[in-house]
C-alpha cells in the first residue's frame, strides 16, 4: 500500500459547511427517538451504531496500523462474556461489568499481541484466527464458568442509578439508542484523535512499511500493541453493549469466526484507514442484511411481479432468503475487492477525482 498520506483524511480539515452539516446531523440523531418511536426503526439504528463501533475499533489496528486481525471476535466475545457473567453470577450491573470486561480484554490482547505480532502478513492473519478459535472453544468447554454451549440468558437488567436517582430502567429501546449513539461517537472521536496524534503517524508509518518504520526508530512491537489495546478495548465495549442489548450470548454468536469476518467487512466495504469508512460500511451492510433477514427483499421481488408469491420459486425465496443474509456479505466483499479495493468511500472519491480531471 504505497498510498501517500492524504492531507484531507489525516488532518480532518473541516470546512465551515462540513461543521454545519455535522452539527445538524448530531442534533438530528439526538432528537431521532423523539420523532420516531417505532421499535424496529430504533433497532436498525442501534445495529448501525453497533456496527460502526465494531468497524471503527478494528480500523485503528487494521486500517491505520495495517495489522489485519481476523480474530477480533476474541475481544468482542470476551467483553460480552465478562459483562454477562458478572451480571448473571455476581449481580454486577453492566455499567460496571463492561469496565471489568475491558480490563480482561486488555490482558487477553497483551497475550495475543505477544504471540501474533512476531508474525507478519498471512501468518499474522492465521495466528489471529487461531487465538480467537482457542477462546471460542474454551468458552464452550469451560462449562462451570461460561455455561458452555447453552450460553447466558438474562431476563432483567438492573435499572441504571446514579446515587438514588434512577436514570433509566431499560424497558424500551430508547436508552440503548442513546448508549449506542454515544459509544459510536466516542469511538469516532477516539479514532479522530488517534489519527491526528503522533501515535497515529507511527501507526501509519508501520502500515506503509514496517522495516522503514523500524529503521526510523519506531518500536514496532510496542506501537502495534498500543494499537491493539485501543482497538481491543473499543471492541470489548461493542461486545458488552451487544450482550446487554440482546440479552443472550453463546459462543458462536459472539466468539465465532463470522463475527471476526463481519468486523473486517464493515471496514473493508466502507474503506479502511479512514474515519468515515466504518460508518459507511455499517450504512451499507446493516440495512442490506436486515432487509434480507426480514424478507423485505423477497416481498420487493414479489411486488415487481417478476416472481409471483405463490409460485414455487416465490415460496423458495420466502423461506430461504432470510437464512442466507450473509450471502450479501460474500457478494459485497468480492465486488468491493475486485472493483473498489479502497472501499465505497475510496471508489467515489476516485470517481469524483476523475470527473474533476475531465472537467479541467
Amino acid at each position: 500500500m504505497k498510498r501517500l498520506l492524504d492531507p484531507e483524511t489525516t488532518t480532518g480539515g473541516a470546512s465551515p459547511a462540513g461543521v454545519l452539516i455535522a452539527i445538524t446531523l448530531l442534533v438530528f440523531l439526538f432528537l431521532f427517538p423523539r420523532m420516531v418511536s417505532d421499535p424496529y426503526t430504533l433497532h436498525i439504528m442501534i445495529l448501525l451504531f453497533l456496527s460502526t463501533i465494531m468497524g471503527q475499533s478494528w480500523n485503528i489496528l487494521g486500517g491505520y496500523t495495517g495489522q489485519y486481525s481476523v480474530g477480533h471476535a476474541a475481544y468482542f466475545g470476551t467483553g460480552a462474556y465478562v459483562t454477562m457473567m458478572l451480571m448473571q453470577y455476581r449481580q454486577v450491573p453492566p455499567w460496571y461489568g463492561m469496565w471489568a470486561g475491558m480490563a480482561v480484554v486488555v490482558a487477553v490482547a497483551l497475550i495475543i499481541g505477544s504471540i501474533c505480532f512476531r508474525l507478519r502478513g498471512p501468518y499474522f492473519v492465521l495466528a489471529s484466527i487461531a487465538v480467537a478459535e482457542i477462546i471460542r472453544l474454551s468458552a464452550i468447554n469451560l462449562k462451570e464458568i461460561t455455561n458452555g454451549a447453552e450460553g447466558i440468558l438474562i431476563t432483567e437488567i438492573p435499572p441504571f442509578k446514579l446515587g438514588e436517582t434512577v436514570i433509566t430502567d431499560f424497558l424500551t429501546k430508547v436508552p440503548f439508542y442513546y448508549i449506542g449513539l454515544v459509544l459510536a461517537l466516542l469511538t469516532i472521536v477516539i479514532t479522530w484523535l488517534v489519527q491526528r496524534s503522533k501515535l497515529g503517524y507511527y501507526f501509519q508509518a508501520i502500515r506503509e512499511d514496517q522495516d522503514a518504520a523500524h529503521s526510523l526508530g519506531i518500536n514496532l512491537t510496542f506501537y502495534k500493541n498500543i494499537a491493539l489495546i485501543i482497538s481491543a478495548m473499543l471492541t470489548s465495549l461493542a461486545g458488552s453493549f451487544y450482550a446487554v442489548y440482546v440479552g443472550f450470548i453463546d459462543p458462536p454468536t459472539v466468539l465465532g469466526l463470522d463475527i471476526s469476518v463481519e468486523i473486517v467487512l464493515i471496514c473493508i466495504i466502507g474503506g479502511i484507514g479512514t474515519i468515515y469508512g466504518p460508518v459507511i460500511g455499517a450504512l451499507v451492510l446493516v440495512p442490506l442484511s436486515e432487509a434480507l433477514r426480514s424478507n423485505l427483499i423477497a416481498s420487493a421481488i414479489f411486488k415487481t411481479g417478476i416472481v409471483s408469491e405463490e409460485s414455487g420459486i416465490g415460496n423458495f425465496l420466502k423461506e430461504n432468503l432470510a437464512h442466507a443474509h450473509t450471502l450479501i456479505y460474500g457478494i459485497l466483499v468480492v465486488v468491493v475487492i475486485l472493483f473498489m479495493p479502497d472501499g465505497v468511500l475510496g471508489f467515489f472519491k476516485a470517481l469524483t477525482a476523475k470527473k474533476h480531471k475531465e472537467a479541467a
Binding site: 500500500m1 489485519y68 481476523v70 504471540i115 512476531r118 508474525l119 502478513g121 498471512p122 501468518y123 492473519v125 492465521l126 495466528a127 484466527i129 487461531a130 487465538v131 478459535e133 482457542i134 472453544l137 474454551s138 464452550i140 468447554n141 469466526l257 469476518v261 473486517v264 467487512l265 473493508i268 430461504n320 432468503l321 437464512h323 442466507a324 450473509t326 450471502l327 456479505y329 460474500g330 457478494i331 459485497l332 466483499v333 468480492v334 475487492i337 475486485l338 479495493p341
Partner: protein, 517 residues
C-alpha cells in the same frame, strides 16, 4: 497400549484425508502465493456433489470421485479465471478477503439450495468396522487368557481323540489363569465348566465324576454372575445329565432331577431352543432306560413331549405345515412306538455344549469407510507426486512455484499453471469432501472447520511443500485423535490450535519449509 494404538491408527487414517486437503491448499499457495480461505467450502461442495450422486444416481461415494474430481477441477479453474486471477500480486489481505468472500458465497448459496439442515449419506458400510492386529493387541490379561482358552477348546473339538484330552486340559488351565486375573467373569467360568464337562465325557468312572463335579462348581459360580444366562443353564443341565448317566441308583436320580431343574430354568429364558428341547428329551429318555414299569413310561411320555416340542419349533422355523398332523396324533401313540421314535432320534445323540463367544474387543477397530478413504488418499497422493515429478506439466508447475519470473522466461505459460494449480487444489479438496462424506454430517457451514485445519496443516508442513502437507496432515490427524482420547474430545481442537501457534512462533517455515514441492 491398545488405546494408544487405537487412537494412533484412527489418527493416521483421518490424517490421510487431512493431508489431501492440505496438499490442495499448499499447491495453490505455492503457485500463486494466495491463501485460499474458500478451501473448506470447496470441500463442502465436494460433499454435496457426492451426496447428490449417491441419492440421485446411487453412485457409491468412493466411486463417485471419478466424477467429482473433474467437476471440482472445472469449478476451481473457473473460480481462478474469474476471481482469483484479478488479485494475483495484490495485497495479501485483499487476496484473503476475496477468498473469504468467495467462501461465503459458496456456503450461503448451498444454504439457499439445501437449507442448513444436516444431511447424512448412509452407505451399508458407513458405521461398519473391522479389527486388525488381533493376535498382537489385547486389551488385558484376562481377555488374553480367555481368548487362548477358547482357541484351544476349538482346536480340541476338531482334534482326534488322542490329542483331545490334552488340549482340553490346556484350555481349562488357560481359563483358570484368566479367572485368577478376574474371578468374576461368567463367560470364563462357563467356558471352563464346558471344557471340564467335555473332558469328563472322554473319561469314565471316578475321574469323570470328579470332573463333572468340578464343572458343576464352575457353573454354579457362573450362574449368579451371568444374569439369567441361557447358555450357563443349558450347559449346567447338560453337564449334570452327563454326570447322572455315569452314576446309578438314587444318586443318578438326584442328578437327573437337578439337571431338569436347570433345563427348566433355561427354558424360561428361551422357550424355543431346539437344542435345549432335544437334550432335555434325550436326558429323559436316558433316565427312562434305567427304570421299569410306570415310572419308565411316564418318563418316555415326558421325553416324547419334549421331542415333539422340538420338532414343532423346527417346523415353525422351516415354515413346514405338515408337522401339525404329527403332533395331533402324538398323544395317541403307544409307549412302544414312542420308544422306537426316541431311540431313532437320540440313538447317537451327543449334546453339544455352548461356548460363550468371544465378545471382547481384541485387536484394533478400524472404521471401514475411513480405511477405504485412506487407501484412495494414498493412491491419489502417489499419483500426484508422480504427476509433479515426472510429467511436463508437473515440472512446469514446480518451476512456477520455485521462481515465477524464471519460469516465465523459460517459456512456461504461468497463467495456465495458475489455473491448473487452482483446479488441482479444488479437485483435491472436493475429493477429500467425497471421501469423508460417508462419515461426516453434510451441512453448508462445515467448510470453515476444514479451512482452518488446512491452514494448520500447510503451515505445519511448510507453506508450499507437498511433502510437508502430507506429513502435516497425518500429524494433525494423530494429534487430534490422541488429545481426544487423553485429554477430552472438547479440547482436541484447542490442542491443535495451540500446536499451530507453537509452530508459528518457533518454526514459522514449518517442518519442510526449505524445500518447495
Amino acid at each position: 497400549m491398545t488405546i494408544f494404538l487405537q487412537s494412533l491408527i484412527s489418527g493416521i487414517l483421518i490424517g490421510g484425508v487431512y493431508a489431501l486437503i492440505g496438499i490442495g491448499l499448499t499447491i495453490i499457495y505455492g503457485i500463486m502465493r494466495v491463501i485460499n480461505f474458500a478451501h473448506g467450502d470447496l470441500l463442502m461442495i465436494g460433499m454435496y456433489l457426492t451426496y447428490e450422486l449417491f441419492t440421485l444416481l446411487k453412485i457409491d461415494p468412493f466411486v463417485s470421485i471419478i466424477i467429482t474430481i473433474p467437476l471440482m477441477f472445472l469449478l476451481g479453474w473457473v473460480l481462478q479465471k474469474v476471481f482469483i486471477n484479478r488479485v494475483i500480486g495484490a495485497l495479501p489481505q485483499n487476496q484473503i478477503l476475496l477468498t473469504i468472500g468467495l467462501g461465503l458465497i459458496l456456503s450461503n448459496t448451498m444454504m439457499l439450495i439445501y437449507t442448513s439442515d444436516y444431511k447424512i449419506l448412509t452407505t451399508p458400510y458407513s458405521s461398519s468396522s473391522f479389527k486388525v492386529l488381533r493376535s498382537i493387541v489385547n486389551p488385558d490379561k484376562y481377555e488374553n487368557f480367555y481368548d487362548k482358552g477358547n482357541t484351544l477348546y476349538d482346536k480340541a473339538l476338531a482334534a482326534g481323540s488322542g490329542e483331545k484330552a490334552a488340549l482340553l486340559e490346556k484350555a481349562g488351565s488357560k481359563y483358570a489363569e484368566a479367572l485368577t486375573v478376574k474371578p468374576d467373569q461368567f463367560r470364563g467360568l462357563n467356558n471352563w465348566g464346558v471344557s471340564l464337562a467335555t473332558l469328563a465325557r472322554l473319561r469314565s468312572g471316578n475321574t469323570a465324576n470328579l470332573l463333572y463335579r468340578q464343572a458343576d462348581e464352575k457353573f454354579s459360580q457362573a450362574a449368579p454372575l451371568g444374569d439369567d444366562d441361557f447358555e450357563i443353564a443349558y450347559n449346567w443341565g447338560t453337564a449334570l445329565a452327563g454326570q447322572a448317566a455315569t452314576n446309578t441308583g438314587p444318586e443318578a436320580d438326584a442328578l437327573f432331577a437337578k439337571a431338569y431343574e436347570k433345563f427348566k430354568a433355561a427354558e424360561e429364558i428361551r422357550p424355543d431352543s431346539v437344542d435345549l428341547l432335544n437334550i432335555w428329551s434325550a436326558t429323559l429318555c436316558g433316565q427312562a432306560r434305567l427304570k421299569t414299569g410306570a415310572a419308565a413310561d411316564k418318563l418316555y411320555n415326558d421325553a416324547y413331549e419334549k421331542y415333539t416340542a422340538a420338532r414343532q419349533v423346527q417346523a415353525a422355523d422351516n415354515n413346514d405345515s405338515d408337522s401339525d398332523g404329527g403332533t395331533a396324533t402324538a398323544s395317541r401313540r403307544s409307549i412302544a412306538e414312542i420308544k422306537t421314535t426316541l431311540s431313532q432320534a437320540y440313538g447317537n445323540y451327543s449334546p453339544q455344549f455352548r461356548m460363550k463367544p468371544d465378545k471382547r474387543d481384541a485387536g484394533i477397530s478400524v472404521s471401514t469407510p475411513l480405511a477405504i478413504s485412506f487407501i484412495i488418499t494414498m493412491a491419489l497422493t502417489i499419483l500426484l507426486y508422480w504427476f509433479l515429478l515426472k510429467t511436463d506439466t508437473g515440472q512446469a508447475i514446480r518451476a512456477t512455484a520455485q521462481d515465477r519470473e524464471a519460469a516465465q522466461l523459460m517459456g512456461i505459460n504461468v497463467k495456465r499453471m495458475e489455473s491448473i494449480a487452482f483446479g488441482l487444489g479444488s479437485a483435491l479438496a472436493g475429493t477429500a469432501g467425497a471421501l469423508i462424506s460417508p462419515t461426516y454430517y453434510i451441512f453448508p457451514q462445515i467448510g470453515s472447520t476444514f479451512t482452518l485445519k488446512a491452514f494448520i496443516i500447510t503451515v505445519l508442513g511448510g507453506m508450499g511443500s507437498v511433502v510437508g502437507a502430507t506429513l502435516g496432515g497425518i500429524i494433525i490427524g494423530v494429534a487430534e485423535s490422541m488429545s481426544a482420547v487423553y485429554i477430552s474430545s472438547g479440547w482436541k481442537d484447542v490442542v491443535v490450535f495451540v500446536l499451530f501457534l507453537l509452530v508459528l512462533l518457533f518454526k514459522p517455515s514449518g517442518l519442510m519449509g526449505k524445500s518447495r514441492m
